[in-house]
């Protein structure tokens, strides 16, 4: 018994190490094409790396890195979308002296010092998705149109619930973080559209999931109890959308409550046809990454600034009327 238990422990450890090594080998860092230009190193640092939005972004980043003779260094906390975990990673990356840094700040003020430090060290910085408070030293800031996405979400919910002036409708909003600029932008856009066109929609509560779909699921379950007349849920990112979708399916409320999510995870896109999601607001994270790397490379190799400092990539609303071709086009590709 003693020998077999020890053998099993050793076997388990060896298997885990072997799988880890194979995993490292299979996780792609871009294989650059051979050119005469000096290979650049560009680091990409984000919050919760496990978030499928960032994984879809990685696909675009690796494609562009390969095309531009760039060594891509992909870094981020596996699961915590938190300034406390991101700052040490950024500091380590700065110490490794990359040529460029694509930063996705989890907090606009919390990452400002690190971003400025990178610029002072001669690293060309771009912001993607979210931004530091002062982006003047960054070569470019690229994001989806979060305010527009929030407004589109309000339109989708209003259409689903058959909004009529003079009536009152309870809705709630699930976010990942109170400080992430994407979340704040989407919520502001949602509130502004509601105030302008749908004053009967009452935002009863907001809650945070810290990128954990189980927490999002728990929040929605509690809301369904607290607000028996709940008409709509705006799940402001992909993990909130996943958790909310599971909660509605478990409670047999599919189609009875308007659920609008953000980010076209393949699993969530499949739920549009099933009627679980009223709509998904899809961004183009791969394109955001491509443009960021292009801008950094152009700045370093040609000393050229991009045509526009702030670039907003339009969103698309995916719903039951979207063609299969468009659904496939805008679904986030897994890395």
């Amino acid at each position: 018994m003693k020998r077999s238990v020890r053998s099993l422990a050793v076997l388990g450890a060896v298997a885990a190490v072997a799988l880890t090594i194979s995993g490292c080998a299979s996780s792609t860092t871009a294989t650059p094409t051979a050119t005469t230009e000096k290979q650049l190193t560009i680091a990409f640092v984000m919050g919760a790396e496990s978030d499928p939005f960032f994984q879809a972004m990685k696909v675009g980043a690796e494609e562009e890195a390969a095309a531009q003779n760039v060594k891509l260094v992909w870094q981020g906390d596996p699961s915590h979308y938190d300034v406390a975990t991101e700052v040490p990673i950024v500091e380590s990356v700065i110490a490794s002296k990359p040529d460029g840094l694509v930063l996705i700040p989890t907090d606009p003020d919390g990452l400002q010092a690190s971003s400025d430090k990178a610029v002072a060290a001669g690293i060309v910085v771009a912001n993607v998705d979210t931004h530091t408070t002062d982006t003047s030293k960054a070569v470019i800031f690229i994001t989806g149109d979060n305010a527009d996405g929030g407004a589109k979400a309000a339109d989708a919910i209003a259409a689903k619930i058959g909004y009529k002036d003079g009536e009152s409708y309870d809705v709630v909003v699930g976010l990942t973080s109170a400080t992430a600029t994407t979340n704040v932008g989407r919520l502001d856009g949602f509130k502004a559209q509601v105030a302008a066109k749908y004053p009967g929609i009452k935002i009863q509560d907001v809650a945070y999931s810290a990128s954990n779909p189980q927490t999002a699921n728990s929040n929605v379950s509690n809301w369904l109890t607290k607000y028996p007349n709940l008409k709509g849920i705006f799940a402001i990112d992909g993990t909130n959308a996943s958790g909310a979708a599971a909660a509605l399916q478990a409670k047999n409320l599919v189609g009875k409550i308007a659920l609008v999510g953000y980010d076209a995870y393949p699993a969530n896109v499949a739920l549009i046809k099933a009627g679980v999601f009223t709509a998904l607001i899809a961004q183009d994270p791969a394109e955001e990454a491509r443009q960021a790397i292009k801008a950094i490379v152009n700045k370093i190799r040609n000393n050229e600034d991009p045509a526009a400092h702030d670039v907003v990539i339009p969103n698309v609303t995916l719903d039951a009327n979207t063609s299969a071709a468009d659904l496939a086009k805008y679904t986030y590709v897994a890395n």
Binding site: V5, R6, A48, P78, S221, A250, A270, A274
Partner: protein, 346 residues
């Protein structure tokens, strides 16, 4: 009427309230009821609802599985930080097998999903055991302290979950009815759903192992004094291997719980739950020094965490207050432990 003391020569003993009010579990039960009353009043009565208790137990059901495994580990003198990542990893491995290898998607649902979900359960538990055995190897053979060893597996398991899932939730066969209250012969057993019932039964069995079986006795002995336990003939390393394997297995079972709840294996489904599990164990009265603790405390500690979470949402308070309240509960629990310890030494 004669004085009873004169008749018997022994003074009548008054009831000793001190052990009852300083008993950790008694205090937890009291706090649970007081908070329930407070939340009910401030939510306009909405908190006192069977649906709310269903929500609390659904949240409790996952963390209590992790906390039960953690209880064994902590009593033995160790700690297991890898439990949250193991939840994510086990769900992802099950998702990879069902969705990527067997091509079973979300259209496989309800009764048709039972067979794949049983396979997923086996995969989740085996994955958890594998992580547990890695922990045991690092602690016993490589001689790394449990905190560092399990910190390493926390990162490793979380990373593998992201790599193997491609960062996306793997949506496969599902049976959401298992998350809803059980209905037997037209009678609802709310707030108990199937998955909550499984967690409850698991806690009860684990409690029996801890308090009534030799396994528990050896666990306490090793946590109290590993050297003395070895001198008494206990194979400490073998027993610790079992302890970490049990913690891993329960984490795998929790991974299946998360999969059932979400209908998918998600790489972030267990993020942060290791701290919830440790908080439940400490609030429940188990000492991080090892050698003491009770399963009923863990059960109550985990319940208290989610009573607070649900209660704050029902009264409309900022959910970030949960962390503040949990900090006070942990401090209070450690304070009571310290008081009880000093009383025993007198």
């Amino acid at each position: 009427m004669t004085d009873s003391k004169q008749a018997t020569g022994v003074a009548p003993r008054s009831f000793n309230w001190k052990p009852l009010v300083t008993n950790q579990s008694s205090i937890l039960v009291f706090v649970i009821f007081v908070l329930a009353a407070v939340f009910t009043v401030y939510s306009g009565g909405k908190f006192w609802d069977i649906a709310v208790f269903n929500n609390i137990l659904t949240d409790w059901g996952l963390v209590v599985l992790l906390a039960v495994g953690q209880t064994f580990v902590v009593i033995s003198g160790g700690i297991d930080l890898s439990v949250g990542s193991t939840v994510s990893l086990s769900g992802v491995v099950a998702g990879v097998v069902m969705v990527n290898w067997m091509h079973l998607d979300l259209s496989v649902s309800n009764e048709a999903a039972i067979a794949p979900l049983l396979l997923a359960l086996l995969i989740c538990v085996l994955t958890g055991i594998a992580v547990g055995l890695v922990n045991a190897f690092l602690v016993n053979t490589v001689n790394i302290v449990p905190f560092i060893a399990t910190l390493a597996t926390l990162g490793g398991a979380a990373g593998l979950a992201i790599i193997w899932s491609g960062g996306m939730p793997l949506q496969g066969p599902n049976f959401y009815g298992l998350v809803n209250p059980i209905v037997l012969g037209g009678v609802s057993l709310s707030p108990f759903s199937f998955i909550v019932l499984v967690s409850t039964i698991t806690v009860l069995i684990a409690g029996l192992f801890l308090h009534r079986a030799r396994f528990g006795l050896y666990t306490y002995a090793i946590g109290s004094n590993a050297f003395a336990a070895k001198a008494a003939g206990i194979n400490v390393k073998r027993h610790l291997t079992w302890v970490y394997a049990v913690s891993g297995a329960l984490s795998g079972l929790a991974g299946m719980y998360a999969y059932t709840r979400l209908g998918s294996g998600s790489p972030s489904s267990g993020a942060g739950f290791e701290l919830q599990a440790i908080a439940a164990v400490v609030i429940g009265g188990t000492s991080l020094m090892g050698g003491s603790g009770k399963m009923v405390g863990t059960l109550l500690g985990a319940f208290l965490l989610y009573e607070v979470q649900s209660g704050l949402l029902m009264v409309g308070m900022d959910p970030n207050w949960k962390q503040v309240i949990v900090a006070f509960m942990i401090a209070g629990a450690v304070g009571v432990q310290g008081f009880n310890f000093s009383q025993r030494r007198k």
